[in-house]
Symmetry: C2
Subunit: 426 residues, 2 copies
């Protein structure tokens, strides 16, 4: 791997430093934080060549190791991503600062003035795979929300990450903020992940950014609250009364616009009364863009003549997140069966109904218990940017703290502020 | 222990049943839930003698085992508590139902209608010690917030709990709701606690109700999010400008009104400029009601002649939750030292400042990162009832999901509801 001496890392010391730095950052004004964020954007511009040179070493090594070229381009290579990444940093400076916002203000009958006030969580622990741009995303969202962050990125992107961390820490210091707001675990040894997950004295929240295995590892080993998410077996149900002409582009978008994302649709459920009319059109419409299909027997029977694109669904196909141009198809006898199928197979990320029947629409939106429920729209909108949060640190599919896309506000907590005048409890 | 056959308990089966029952309850109307809650109050009245007879067996056994009588009266005995418990049940029926409430409604530029809608969490896992009234509290709050609950109470209260669980389940059924909304682990075998903590496929939230060891056990072994809390090393800082006459009854209330609660104050920090005037008065004022004191050297030096009530503070005294009429005393040289001491020693439950200086007040309220921060009031108000939540399932001292007193709304999550008209993501 990387030609670096593996020094022993003292995570407790890192935790202490992060906590102390976080306390200072929590007192920074919005203007100070925004100035630091704009300075980071400028510093990334100024150090663009150094960062890209480090990134090229990572990319070259991945190629030497025979890594898939699509994976390299999609996840590791920063060349085409750098400009957009810097623009995104500047955008975070323009977002509203959630910290210090007062809400639920009221005066009790006894005269006590009670309110809640948003405060930073403290220290974020972020564990991520490849995608070195996450380093910048997370750092800037952490700074804006008043949180310190301890990060541990994937080994494939180590040189890129270290180059960016250096820029981040130097810029923070030059702006009069502690460099220790942003810390990085400079080791590929997995034992530090385990140690990090038990550092509850110093880390307030673990955010895993990666696949199912990483989320499972965090959930099972962490003594710190974990935001799990990002896994999406998403469904669209084409109801009897759906506008079939409108359904085709919605499903096309949900499947093909970015098939490797968690909000891409994986399964289409079709009401039996429209299945014969709709399924062949669907296969033609998406098939011309390379989509292939896995159909259960009743759906397959309606797709005679499409055998080049459709095969019989296997046992686990309805529980599979394809990350690819593959779509599972199933005929259902109505809304109840659709809801039941989704309850059994959904990862509770994003599920939708296409219908013109508002009774069915309302039942679906009520009864499907997913982070995002849709009526007559593509599931691809489950995203902090698309839903107006301005930025996104993760998509949560668990139910505690935050559900669905998490932006700046979801990186805060609140405290109760209680103001009296010598009040005692009777 | 209890003369009961320890049958093998299938927690996975319980989890499945709870999940299915929770899905049905989530669709119940507010009226249905309130009717069930009122019926539970009536059934508790009707079965009062049966429940108290079971409770008497628990109490008698505790006495036979030589359990401390104060503990029995405070935690186990339901005789004096039963009427209040039934009144509290009826009160929950009058509280607003958080489920289904829509918020953050807005329309995006592309015409997508976006909102968030409150939904139940699903299944609560509640692990508690003694205090059989928790069984009813939790069950009724779970029902009102649309959640199923799997409970595991302390072995000392097993008969009392089972008698109440029987009433709860029979009443739910008679109201047309599934009995499995409320389930109880009928075993004193601790292995089931471990199993329960890893049942993340079926349980959405673990709420421990008990001491530090129980919270630690849950945090370290659970794969399910845990609400930790209830541990309170709380502080009041008497600033230079405090109204010393008003400070005395506030501190008296915070220490003596219910010393065994988590929001009782444990440490008083006094500004050095008022310490000589205030400390002797404080010791006299609280001392006459049986409070004794642990003072660090500078405070002790100001308390000559009070040696009968004051002793030198030991090494760990400033980190101790006394649960008793004991108060730690320390002189500080100003606000900064007070804040620093609280950061080092607070469990981030409830901390307050007594001052007439609004600059100092605002700095304290801003910089102290506790679930509740107070100005000129007793810390005893950190309680769902006292702060207007109407009821309380726990007091959280962690930062995720909910902080401080948790009522009905804190037992819910939300989903994003997104309504389009054939919308696709560009």
């Amino acid at each position: 791997m990387i030609d670096m001496i593996e020094t022993k890392i003292d995570l407790v010391e890192m935790g202490k430093q992060a906590k102390a730095a976080g306390i200072k950052l929590a007192q920074a004004t919005t203007e100070q934080k925004n100035a630091a964020i704009m300075a980071i954007a400028d510093a990334l511009e100024a150090n663009r060549e150094t960062i890209l040179a480090a990134n090229k070493q990572d990319v070259d090594e991945a190629r030497t190791n025979g890594t898939d070229e699509i994976w390299i381009k999609d996840r590791l290579d920063l060349v085409k991503r750098m400009t957009g990444m810097i623009e995104d940093v500047r955008k975070v400076a323009t977002l509203p600062d959630p910290v210090g916002k007062s809400f639920d203000e009221h005066t009790l009958d006894n005269g006590l003035k009670v309110s809640k006030r948003r405060t930073p969580l403290g220290v974020l622990g972020v564990i991520y795979e490849a995608r070195p741009n996450v380093t910048i995303d997370v750092a800037v969202l952490a700074i804006k929300s008043g949180n310190a962050a301890i990060m541990r990125g994937g080994k494939e992107a180590m040189r890129s990450n270290l180059a960016m961390i250096k820029v981040l820490r130097e810029t923070l210091e030059s702006c009069g903020l502690p460099a220790d707001i942003i810390q990085y675990i400079e080791s590929t040894d997995r034992k530090y992940v385990g140690e990090m997950l038990r550092l509850h004295q110093y880390i307030d929240l673990i955010i895993p950014r990666g696949g199912n295995d990483l989320h499972k590892l965090c959930r099972e080993n962490s003594t710190i609250p974990v935001i799990t998410g990002g896994i999406g077996v998403c469904h669209l149900f084409v109801d009897e009364s759906a506008d079939l002409d409108a359904a085709l582009p919605v499903i096309h978008n949900a499947k093909t616009q970015r098939p490797a994302t968690c909000n891409a649709v994986e399964t289409i459920l079709v009401h039996e009364k429209v299945a014969a009319a709709f399924l062949p059109r669907l296969v033609d419409y998406l098939g011309k863009d390379g989509v292939t299909f896995r159909a259960e027997p009743q759906a397959l029977a309606l797709l005679k003549g499409h055998e080049d694109k459709v095969q019989l669904a296997g046992k686990d196909d309805f529980d599979t997140e394809w990350y690819a141009l593959i779509l599972s198809l199933k005929v259902v006898n109505g809304l109840d069966e659709a809801i039941e199928h989704i309850r059994q197979h959904s990862t509770q990320h994003s599920d939708g109904i296409l219908t013109r029947d508002m009774t069915n629409a309302n039942r679906f939106l009520d009864e499907i218990d997913s982070a995002a429920v849709y009526l007559n729209a593509s599931t691809r909108f489950t995203d902090g940017g698309a839903l107006g949060l301005g930025a996104e640190i993760a998509v949560s599919t668990q139910k505690l703290h935050a559900r669905g896309p998490m932006g700046l506000e979801e990186l805060t907590t609140y405290k109760w502020v209680i103001i009296g005048d010598g009040h005692i409890r009777p």
